[in-house]
């Protein structure tokens, strides 16, 4: 265990990437026991700055001081040496290894032969006891839900005995409960003298957890100050450089004829168990129905079966009262269902394809974009340009690979594609996960826009605020069934929270 970090300073950090000035002359400092929140829009430079601190990137200029001694951190292993640990934005876990093995990887260091997994297992159990992070050490990573994986990431850094923690959007994929637990946990750690850098786009969390905030914009530090001086709104303003109003729906929907009816559907998950057993749900035209629930209760399968990506065992799925169950994805797309998938990087888009090619992903084989199987390049060119400007997608040009766009912009590409196809029904899974407030605001505006054009929308999310903001009705999914459906006016966070935990009526709970 390395010496306690009573003071960390990053001075005049500048990091360039071809064509981008990711960090421009940034100064930040951090004292032990302090929780610093790092804010900024997608692409502002937060991850890059932290990667510099963690030794993954070498800055062009700038120095790092620990306890007033300058240190050179040129690799993660040196970062560990100084007691710096990082939970990365995109999970850094090896899927076909077990939890223990993943943690062990960090502990074995230079060792060649001796591999004592039991010792590691003990360590994990200690840590998870100390901080109440439960996880099965012998499970393979690919078997774990996103939330569980997030926990593993935390346990990993804790086991490595980090006393400066960098958490890059740790809550992006956590349920409200998990998030609250995490916040409590972080405060404990801070009290134990650890210092923490916390990156998040969810300002209420930031408010709840941090002592200080630093705001980045286009790679420069634009604000630094105490958290309690601010409300969520003012933080948002600092961050985006403008005021932000998360839109909420005003008028009640004249929920008329149903567009999508799911009747008693059974479907297997990829573990072979019944992920949907007897799920029923109806979405009407011009209505947004939210699906609340702890991830892993069938949301993914629900979205997949509606879109024909996986098959159902029994039941009916009716679109305009015509059965579309188990049709090929192509047919379902043609019938007018749009889908914003959870995995935006590998399902919603093709990373190695250009923005242009990703925009036409669903219409490349339709007139006018193609005639008799020939792509009409000039038309496609115009079309993509139009969408890029309409949905103001930030990219050098329409030939840039999607891989190099921020999740925020990737999400805009998907929205642009799905919405401009004028779907009758839209499935949106976690549409604002990991997006900055500005982007989130934008996404919600678009969804409401679609709603007002009489599109039926199924919104899958774990963020109750999101659901409460824009849903007409909120259905809670639990173990593959709809436990209950609440109208927006009677739905509250606490009710939803309990339902999500599978507790149907309050009396039982007490």
């Amino acid at each position: 265990m390395s010496e306690i970090i009573s003071k960390l300073e990053m001075k005049k950090i500048t990091k360039k990437f071809p064509g981008v000035l990711a960090c421009n002359n940034i100064d930040i400092y951090l004292k032990s026991g302090e929780i610093l929140a790092l804010l900024g829009e997608n692409g502002a430079g937060k991850t890059t700055l932290m990667n510099v601190l963690f030794g993954l990137y070498q800055p062009e200029h700038g120095k790092i001081f620990i306890n007033d001694k300058q240190v050179i951190i040129n690799s993660p292993s040196t970062a560990f040496k100084y007691g710096i640990g990082m939970v990365h934005q995109h999970f850094m876990l090896v899927p076909n290894l077990t939890v223990v093995e993943n943690v062990a990887l960090g502990l074995i260091g230079k060792r060649i032969f001796k591999l004592d997994l039991n010792k590691v297992r003990k360590r994990i159990e200690e840590v998870s006891k100390e901080y109440g992070l439960s996880v099965n050490p012998n499970a393979y990573i690919w078997q774990l839900s996103v939330g569980e994986q997030q926990r593993v990431e935390l346990i990993k850094v804790l086991c490595l005995g980090a006393n400066l923690l960098i958490l890059d959007e740790p809550t992006a994929a956590l349920t409200p409960q998990e998030t609250d637990e995490l916040i409590v946990l972080l405060k404990q750690m801070a009290e134990k003298g650890r210092s923490i850098i916390f990156i998040s786009h969810k300002l209420n969390e930031v408010k709840a957890v941090s002592n200080r905030v630093c705001v980045l914009r286009n790679g420069s530090l634009v604000y630094e100050g105490k958290t309690q001086k601010h409300s969520v709104a003012t933080l948002a303003e600092k961050m985006a450089g403008r005021e932000i109003y998360m839109p909420t729906l005003k008028e009640k929907s004249q929920a008329n004829s149903p567009i999508l009816e799911i009747k008693n559907v059974f479907a297997k998950g990829n573990m072979g168990t019944m992920a949907l057993d007897g799920l029923s749900l109806t979405v009407s035209k011009g209505e947004i129905v939210g699906i609340a629930g702890v991830s892993g209760n069938g949301q993914k399968e629900l979205a997949d079966v509606i879109n024909g990506i996986s098959h159902i065992e029994r039941g009916k799925i009716l679109l305009n009262s015509k059965n579309i169950a188990n049709l090929a994805p192509q047919q379902i797309i043609n019938k007018g269902i749009g889908y914003i998938p959870e995995d935006r990087m590998h399902e919603g888009t093709i990373p190695s394809f250009s923005v242009k090619e990703n925009i036409i992903m669903k219409d490349y084989n339709k007139k006018p974009l193609s005639k008799k199987m020939f792509l009409q390049n000039s038309i496609i060119e115009k079309y993509s340009q139009k969408l890029i400007s309409n949905f103001d997608i930030k990219c050098p040009d329409n030939k840039t690979m999607c891989a190099s766009l921020s999740g925020g912009n990737v999400q805009k590409v998907i929205l642009a594609r799905e919405l401009s196809r004028k779907p009758k029904m839209l499935i949106a899974a976690y549409p604002i996960r990991g997006l900055d407030l500005g982007a989130a605001e934008y996404v919600h505006e678009q969804l409401l826009e679609a709603r007002s054009e009489n599109v039926g929308i199924l919104l899958i999310s774990e963020e109750l605020d999101e659901l409460l903001d824009i849903c007409d009705r909120i259905a809670v999914i639990y173990e593959g069934k709809i436990l209950e459906i609440l109208d927006r006016d009677i739905a509250t966070k606490t009710k939803l929270g309990l339902l999500m935990a599978g507790i149907k009526n309050e009396k039982k709970a007490i």
Partner: protein
């Protein structure tokens, strides 16, 4: 802007030259070991093929089949399949084509030749398709299946040209050489330059290269093919039947290798004989990757590799060295050139070097 392209070109040239030189330097040591003067050897290797009709035509004679195989490889790699089965696919293609040519010797060329090429395409496609199908539906890794299928193809081919399809004369005279009868002139690709072996095949190949480019980048099927290869999950999401496109890719890939077989039969040998694949199945992979898996890149790449083959071969003759040295030097050059790619792909590194070389001011940024 112009200046930028110019310095860009200089940079690329510089890197390639350095790479090739370092390879040749190591090769030189080998040549010295073999007691020959490297300078004369290399001089021959790179000037003789380019000095005169003979060398140039010979280069193109190699380029034609290389291009076709390369195109096939590009298609398969683009859709995420590593096709090492070129050799086998060439052989099967060659034999299919030959069969047609021998069965309908009297058809006029403008009917017979297309038929032969179609047949060869089908032959190669079957051979490639098997691997594709087994990967898609039985999850048999394509590297394993294509390697194994190469051996099987070789035996099948040998059996046919020494057995059922052997030249009757060979039996009559009892020499029993494994080769089919000579094809009727109708099945010969016309020689486009007199007193040389350069045949119309090269034109066919270039045309096909352009067609493949159009197919991959300008048609919806090509789009699906690339999508399935680039990100299967996303392809499923937009309703592409990934498995079938895997198979399609291998059908095409094999088909093109098959046509390379036809090119050799109709253009060079005018019959099917032993060792007709001439290692193009492997060199084709190199060509495809040198060409950046892009049809229009493969055209020059195949010519370059043709030069490599012809030049090295001429070198063997003028300065007598053991033939093996050629292989070694070709290997070295391949290694050097692939290694040099990083100087293009790693933009940061590229910028640094270009600035050092004063090809670029540190200010202006580079978007290539």
């Amino acid at each position: 802007m112009k200046k930028k392209l110019y310095s860009e070109a200089i940079y690329r040239l510089l890197i390639i030259v350095i790479a090739v030189f370092s390879a040749l330097f190591v090769g030189a040591i080998l040549l010295l070991i073999a007691k020959t003067n490297p300078l004369t050897a290399y001089y021959v290797m790179f000037t003789e093929p380019l000095s005169g009709k003979f060398g140039l035509t010979e280069i193109l004679v190699r380029a034609a089949p290389l291009m076709l195989v390369g195109l096939g490889i590009a298609i398969s790699f683009r859709s995420g399949i590593i096709n090492i089965g070129g050799e086998g696919q060439i052989l099967i293609g060659a034999i299919f084509g030959t069969f047609i040519a021998l069965t309908f010797p009297d058809l006029p060329p403008y009917i017979l030749l297309p038929l032969v090429f179609i047949a060869s395409f089908i032959g190669g496609a079957i051979w490639g398709g098997i691997a594709g199908w087994m990967k898609a539906y039985l999850s048999v890794n394509e590297i394993l299946s294509t390697i194994m299928l190469n051996y099987i193809a070789f035996q099948v081919y040998m059996f046919l040209i020494r057995g059922p399809m052997i030249d009757p004369k060979e039996v009559a005279y009892g020499t029993g050489v494994p080769q089919t009868a000579l094809l009727s002139k109708n099945a010969w690709l016309t020689r486009i330059i007199p007193a040389s072996r350069l045949h119309a095949g090269i034109i066919v190949a270039v045309v096909l290269a352009i067609l493949v480019y159009i197919f991959l980048w300008k048609t919806t099927i090509g789009y699906k093919l690339r999508a399935a290869g680039a990100e299967a999950k996303a392809a499923k999401y937009i309703g592409v039947n990934v498995k079938n496109y895997l198979v399609l890719a291998m059908l095409l890939s094999g088909g093109f290798a098959g046509m390379a077989g036809a090119i050799e039969v109709c253009g060079v040998h005018h019959r099917a004989l032993e060792s007709i694949s001439a290692g193009y199945g492997f060199s084709g992979i190199v060509v495809a990757l040198f060409g950046g898996l892009h049809p229009l890149g493969i055209i020059p790449a195949s010519a370059v590799f043709g030069l490599l083959i012809v030049g090295a071969d001429m070198m063997q003759r003028s300065v007598t060295v053991p033939a093996s040295i050629i292989l070694a030097i070709q290997g070295l050059i391949i290694l050097a050139i692939v290694s040099s790619q990083i100087f293009f792909s790693n933009i940061g590194l590229k910028e640094k070097i270009m600035i050092k070389l004063k090809l670029m001011k540190s200010g202006d940024k580079d978007d290539t």
